[in-house]
C-alpha cells in the first residue's frame, strides 16, 4: 500500500521566541526531533506546548528563531505549503462533507488524478478501519471514530511529520488507552516522525520515545520517559512526572556518615553521596516504606495523617518532624494497612534519593 512509503523527516527548532502582544509564550526554545521518532511535548496548560506545535504547522509566527523540516527552513512558508499533518484537539472534521470527502480534501487540493485519490482514500480509511463509514457525516460518528477519521485525513496526504494536538483529550478513559496504542502502532508502521502534545504524563510516558517537558514557555528537560523520571534536572520535572517528596535542607558529613538535615530537624542518612551543602532531596513515594517503629530499618518515625486506598496501592501521608511525606505501599489482599493516627517507622531506599 502506498501509505507505507512515507518519507518522513526530522524537525529542528532553533532559538524560538514567540510573543502575543506583550506576553512572551515561548522563550528561546531549541529542540531537535529525530526522523521517525515519537516525541511528546508535555506540560501543564498554558506552558506553550500547543503554541510550539502550531508554530511547526505554520499557524503561529515566531519573532525570532527558525524551524527546520528535514534541513529545510520553513518559518516563512504558509501552512498549506508545509506538508505537515496535524490532528486537531477537536478533530476539526468538516460537518458539511462526508467522511470520504473529508479524507479526500487534501488530495484534491494537491490535484491528484481521480483514480489515485479513490485508491488512497480507501487505503487510509481501511488503515483506520472505517471503510464502511465513507458516506457518513462526521456527526453520525462516535468520538473514537471521529478521531480515526481525523487521523486518516491527515496521513492520507503522506505528511513529512505528524503533529497531534492533545488528540486523546476528548475521549473517555477506556477509549483513550486503546487509541493511544493504536496511534503508536500506526506511527511505528508508517515510521512517521510524530509530535504528540499532552498534559498527561502517563500518555506521554506510554507512547513516546522522548519527551520535552515544558513550563512557562521554556524547555525544562528532554529525555526518554525513564530518564526524566529517574534523573529529573529540576523540581518541576520531578514533580510533574509522578508524585515526589521534596525536602530542602543541608547535607553534611559527620563521623564518616553523610546526613541530610532539613530546617525543621528532620534527619536522613544518605549512602553513596559525596555532595555537601545546601541541597534539596527528592524521593518517590514508592522508595520509602512503612515498618515497625522499633525495627532497625526505621530511618524515621512519624504519625499517619491520611490514608488513601488506590486499588493496587495504599497511599499514606505521614507527618515527620512537621513535614508531610507521601508513602506508597503495595496493597495485597489480607495485608493490614496502618491506621490513621498510628505511629509508624519509615525505612528509606536511599539508593533512589535524588539530590538537587
Amino acid at each position: 500500500m502506498s501509505l507505507q512509503k512515507i518519507q518522513s523527516v526530522g524537525i529542528e527548532l532553533k532559538n524560538i521566541d514567540l510573543s502575543y502582544d506583550d506576553t512572551q509564550v515561548i522563550k528561546n526554545v531549541s529542540l531537535k526531533i529525530n526522523k521517525g521518532e515519537f516525541f511528546a511535548f508535555l506540560g501543564p496548560s498554558g506552558c506553550g506546548k500547543s503554541t510550539l506545535l502550531r508554530l511547526i504547522a505554520g499557524f503561529e509566527h515566531c519573532q525570532r528563531g527558525e524551524v527546520f523540516l528535514g534541513g529545510e527552513e520553513v518559518s516563512r512558508l504558509p501552512p498549506w505549503k508545509r506538508n505537515v499533518g496535524m490532528v486537531f484537539q477537536n478533530y476539526a472534521l468538516w460537518p458539511h462533507m462526508t467522511i470520504w470527502k473529508n479524507v479526500a480534501f487534501g488530495l484534491e487540493e494537491r490535484k491528484l488524478p481521480h483514480h489515485e485519490i479513490d485508491q488512497r482514500v480507501n487505503d487510509a480509511l481501511e488503515l483506520v478501519g472505517l471503510q464502511d463509514y465513507a458516506q457518513r457525516r462526521p456527526n453520525q460518528l462516535s468520538g473514537g471514530q471521529q478521531q480515526r477519521v481525523a487521523l486518516a485525513r491527515t496521513i492520507v496526504i503522506e505528511p513529512r511529520v505528524l503533529l497531534l494536538d492533545e488528540p486523546l483529550s476528548n475521549l473517555d478513559a477506556k477509549l483513550r488507552v486503546h487509541m493511544r496504542q493504536e496511534l503508536l502502532d500506526l506511527q511505528r508502521k508508517l515510521g512517521l516522525t510524530t509530535i504528540f502534545v499532552t498534559h498527561d504524563q502517563e500518555e506521554a510516558n506510554t507512547t513516546s520515545d522522548r519527551i520535552a517537558v515544558l513550563q512557562d514557555g521554556i524547555v525544562q528537560q528532554v529525555g526518554s520517559p525513564m530518564e526524566l523520571y529517574d534523573k529529573p534536572e529540576n523540581l518541576f520535572v520531578a514533580k510533574f512526572l509522578g508524585s515526589a517528596n521534596v525536602l530542602n535542607g543541608n547535607i553534611t558529613t559527620e563521623d564518616n556518615e553523610t546526613i541530610f538535615k532539613d530546617e525543621k530537624g528532620l534527619k536522613i542518612s544518605l549512602h553513596n553521596c559525596d555532595i555537601e551543602g545546601s541541597k534539596s532531596i527528592i524521593f518517590r513515594p514508592q522508595n520509602i516504606s512503612i515498618c515497625d517503629q522499633a525495627s532497625n530499618s526505621a530511618d524515621l518515625n512519624g504519625l499517619v495523617q491520611k490514608r488513601e486506598f488506590l486499588g493496587n496501592l495504599v497511599r499514606y501521608e505521614i507527618q515527620v518532624n512537621q513535614q508531610s511525606i507521601l508513602v506508597d505501599e503495595i496493597y495485597g489482599r489480607g495485608k493490614q494497612p496502618a491506621e490513621e493516627g498510628a505511629q509508624v517507622g519509615l525505612s528509606m531506599d536511599t539508593d533512589h534519593v535524588i539530590i538537587m
Partner: protein, 567 residues
C-alpha cells in the same frame, strides 16, 4: 518586534475596496450633511446661525417637542402593551403563551406607514370603532387625532422590540437566582424588585431605546397620517419644497442623528458589563406556576384585547384592499379584487423594481457583511475594526438623513455614460438601501462566521488549501445558512424602506413598492390600490421573516445534534 506574518495582498485590496465604499456612500454623505448644517448659506463660513434659526422658529420648536413627545409616549404605550405579555409568558404556565410569541413578530411584518391609513379608517373620528361606539354608547375616542394617531400606530408596530428583549432577559434569569433569594428569605414584590427587575432591566432598556430611535426618526407614518409638525416630515418638506440649499433640513438631520446616537449610547450603557444571562446548563428560566381560573380569564381577556388591536392594521388593510368604497361606514360598501388587478396590470413596475432593488441591496449586504466579518475575525490587518465600526454606524443614520446626504453629495454629478443626475439614479437607491441594512446583515454574517470553528479552517490549510481555497470550500459552505437568513432579512426589510426611498426616487417608473404605496395613499381614490400594494409588501416581509426563521432554526437544530454527538 516584527512578526513573520504573511502579508496577503488580496485581503488588503478587499479592505481598501470596502473602506472606499463605506467612505463614499456612508461617511462622506453624512459628513456633508453635518457640514452644511454648520455653514452659513451666504458667506460659506462655519457658523451656528442655522441652529439658532432653528430654535428661534416656533414651528421647529413645536416639531421638536412633538417628535420627542411622540417617541416618548410610543415607548410608554409599547411598554404598557409588552409588560403584561412578558409577565404572563415568563411567570405562568399559560397556554396563551403561543399567541403571545406570535404577537412578537406579526406587527413587525407590516411597515407602520402601510397600516397607517387603514388604522385611520378603523380608529379615526369617522372610523369603524368610533361609529360603533357613538351608536351604542354615545361617545367617541380620538385615537387617531393628530399626534395620538402617530403614537398609536407606532407603538402597535414597535412594541415587539420591547416584548422580545424583555421576555428574552426574563427567560435568561435562572431559577436558581430566584430560589437563592427565596432561600435567603425574600419573596413576592420584594423579590421581584430586588432580583428579577434589575436582572431584566438591561433587556428592557435596549428594547425601549430602539423603539425611541425608530419612532423619532420615522418619516412615513407621520406623512401618511398628514401630521407634518414633527422633525422628520419637516426635514423632508423643507428639502422637497424649498430646495436642497435650505439649511433647516440639514439641521434637523443633525438633530436626528444626535438623538439616535444618544439613544444608542443609553442602550449600550444599560447593557455594558451586564451580560445577565444566568441560565445554567439544564436549568430553566424563572419558576412558573399555574394560573388560577380567575387569573386565566383576566389573562386571556388582556391577551385577546391586545391581539385584536395589534392585528387591526392587518385587518383594516385587508378590508381596504378588497373594499369598494369605505367612508363613514363600519365596513366597506362591497368587496372586489379590482385593486389587485389594477396594481398588477397598471403598475407592475413597483413590484418589479422592488424585487430588483431589494435583491441587489441584500446581495451587496451579504458580500460586504461576509467580507467585513472575515477581515475582522480572521485577519490581522490594522484598522480592520474600523470597517466594523463604520458599517455599524449606519444604525445611527436615519434613512432620511442618508437620502439628504446623497442628494447633496452627488449634487450636479451625472450617471456614468449619461446625463441623468447621479443622486436620483436607481443604482444610488440600491446602494442607500444596502447601507441602511448593512448593520443587520453584518451582525448575521459575523455570527455565522463565529460559528465556524477556527480549527476547521486550519485543518484545511494544513492539508494544503490556501486562504482563498479554504474560504471557498470550508468557510462559505459552513456559513451558508446564516448568510441566507441574513440575505432574506435584508431583502424583506429593504423592500419596504420608505424614508431613504422617498428622498431618492425621481420618477415613478424607477420607484419601488414603498414609494408606490405612499403615492397611492395620498388620494382617497388611490387607497384601494395602495392597500393592495401594501398587502404585497406584507406578503414579501412575512414570507421573508418566515423563511429566515426557518433557516436559522434549521441551522440551530443541526448544530445542536452535532454538539450532542461530539460530546
Amino acid at each position: 518586534m516584527t512578526s513573520k506574518t504573511h502579508k496577503n495582498p488580496g485581503q488588503i485590496a478587499l479592505f481598501l475596496f470596502i473602506a472606499l465604499f463605506l467612505l463614499s456612500f456612508l461617511i462622506i454623505p453624512v459628513v456633508k450633511v453635518f457640514y452644511v448644517a454648520f455653514i452659513d448659506v451666504n458667506s460659506g463660513s462655519l457658523t451656528l446661525i442655522n441652529f439658532k434659526d432653528f430654535f428661534n422658529t416656533s414651528l421647529f420648536i413645536e416639531s421638536f417637542n412633538n417628535s420627542f413627545y411622540v417617541a416618548t409616549m410610543s415607548v410608554l404605550l409599547a411598554t404598557l402593551i409588552s409588560l403584561p405579555l412578558a409577565y404572563f409568558t415568563t411567570r405562568f404556565e399559560f397556554k396563551g403563551a403561543i399567541i403571545i410569541q406570535s404577537l412578537g413578530f406579526v406587527p413587525l411584518i407590516m411597515p407602520p406607514f402601510v397600516g397607517a391609513v387603514a388604522m385611520q379608517l378603523l380608529f379615526g373620528s369617522n372610523g369603524s370603532i368610533n361609529l360603533l361606539m357613538d351608536e351604542y354608547f354615545g361617545f367617541t375616542i380620538p385615537f387617531m387625532e393628530g399626534l395620538n394617531g402617530v403614537i398609536f400606530v407606532q407603538s402597535l408596530h414597535y412594541f415587539p422590540f420591547i416584548l422580545i428583549n424583555l421576555s428574552a432577559s426574563l427567560n435568561n434569569i435562572d431559577r436558581s437566582m430566584e430560589e437563592s433569594a427565596q432561600n435567603l428569605g425574600s419573596s413576592g414584590m420584594r423579590l421581584f424588585r430586588r432580583i428579577v427587575f434589575p436582572l431584566a432591566m438591561p433587556g428592557y432598556v435596549a428594547g425601549a431605546s430602539l423603539v425611541f430611535i425608530k419612532v423619532f426618526d420615522d418619516l412615513g407614518t407621520p406623512l401618511l397620517l398628514n401630521v407634518n409638525n414633527m422633525l422628520a416630515p419637516q426635514a423632508y418638506l423643507r428639502i422637497s419644497s424649498i430646495g436642497i440649499d435650505d439649511p433647516m433640513g440639514y439641521v434637523i438631520a443633525v438633530i436626528l442623528v444626535i438623538f439616535s446616537l444618544f439613544a444608542m449610547w443609553i442602550a449600550s450603557l444599560a447593557l455594558k458589563g451586564k451580560d445577565y444571562s444566568t441560565v445554567q446548563k439544564g436549568g430553566g428560566g424563572l419558576a412558573k406556576r399555574k394560573m388560577r381560573p380567575f387569573e386565566r380569564i383576566v389573562a386571556y381577556f388582556i391577551v385577546i384585547l391586545i391581539l385584536l388591536t395589534v392585528l387591526s392594521p392587518h385587518f383594516g388593510l385587508t378590508l381596504l384592499s378588497f373594499g369598494t368604497i369605505w367612508s363613514y361606514s363600519v365596513l366597506p360598501d362591497g368587496f372586489t379584487p379590482d385593486h389587485y388587478v389594477e396594481i398588477f396590470a397598471e403598475t407592475p413596475e413597483f413590484m418589479m423594481n422592488t424585487l430588483l432593488y431589494a435583491s441587489l441591496a441584500a446581495t451587496i449586504d451579504i458580500i460586504l457583511g461576509t467580507s467585513i466579518a472575515y477581515l475582522v475575525l480572521r485577519t490581522k490587518i490594522r484598522f480592520r475594526y474600523w470597517l466594523d465600526y463604520a458599517a455599524m454606524a449606519a444604525l445611527a443614520v436615519p434613512g432620511l438623513v442618508l437620502g439628504i446626504g446623497y442628494l447633496r453629495t452627488f449634487l450636479g454629478a451625472s450617471i456614468p455614460f449619461g446625463d441623468a443626475p447621479l443622486a436620483t439614479w436607481w443604482v444610488m437607491l440600491v446602494i442607500a438601501l444596502s447601507i441602511r441594512r448593512l448593520p443587520y446583515a453584518l451582525r448575521a454574517c459575523t455570527s455565522a462566521l463565529q460559528q465556524v470553528s477556527r480549527s476547521l479552517e486550519e485543518a484545511a490549510e494544513n492539508l494544503g488549501a490556501n486562504k482563498a481555497k479554504t474560504i471557498q470550500r470550508i468557510v462559505l459552505p459552513l456559513m451558508s445558512g446564516g448568510l441566507l437568513a441574513g440575505f432574506v432579512t435584508s431583502f424583506a426589510t429593504a423592500a419596504v424602506e420608505l424614508s431613504a426611498t422617498i428622498m431618492l426616487v425621481s420618477t415613478e417608473s424607477d420607484a419601488p413598492l414603498a414609494y408606490g404605496i405612499y403615492v397611492f395613499m395620498q388620494s382617497a381614490a388611490g387607497r384601494g390600490p395602495g392597500a393592495a400594494l401594501g398587502m404585497v409588501a406584507v406578503l414579501i416581509v412575512g414570507l421573508g421573516t418566515y423563511f429566515s426563521h426557518r433557516i436559522i432554526e434549521k441551522g440551530r437544530r443541526e448544530r445542536s445534534i452535532e454538539n450532542n454527538n461530539q460530546k
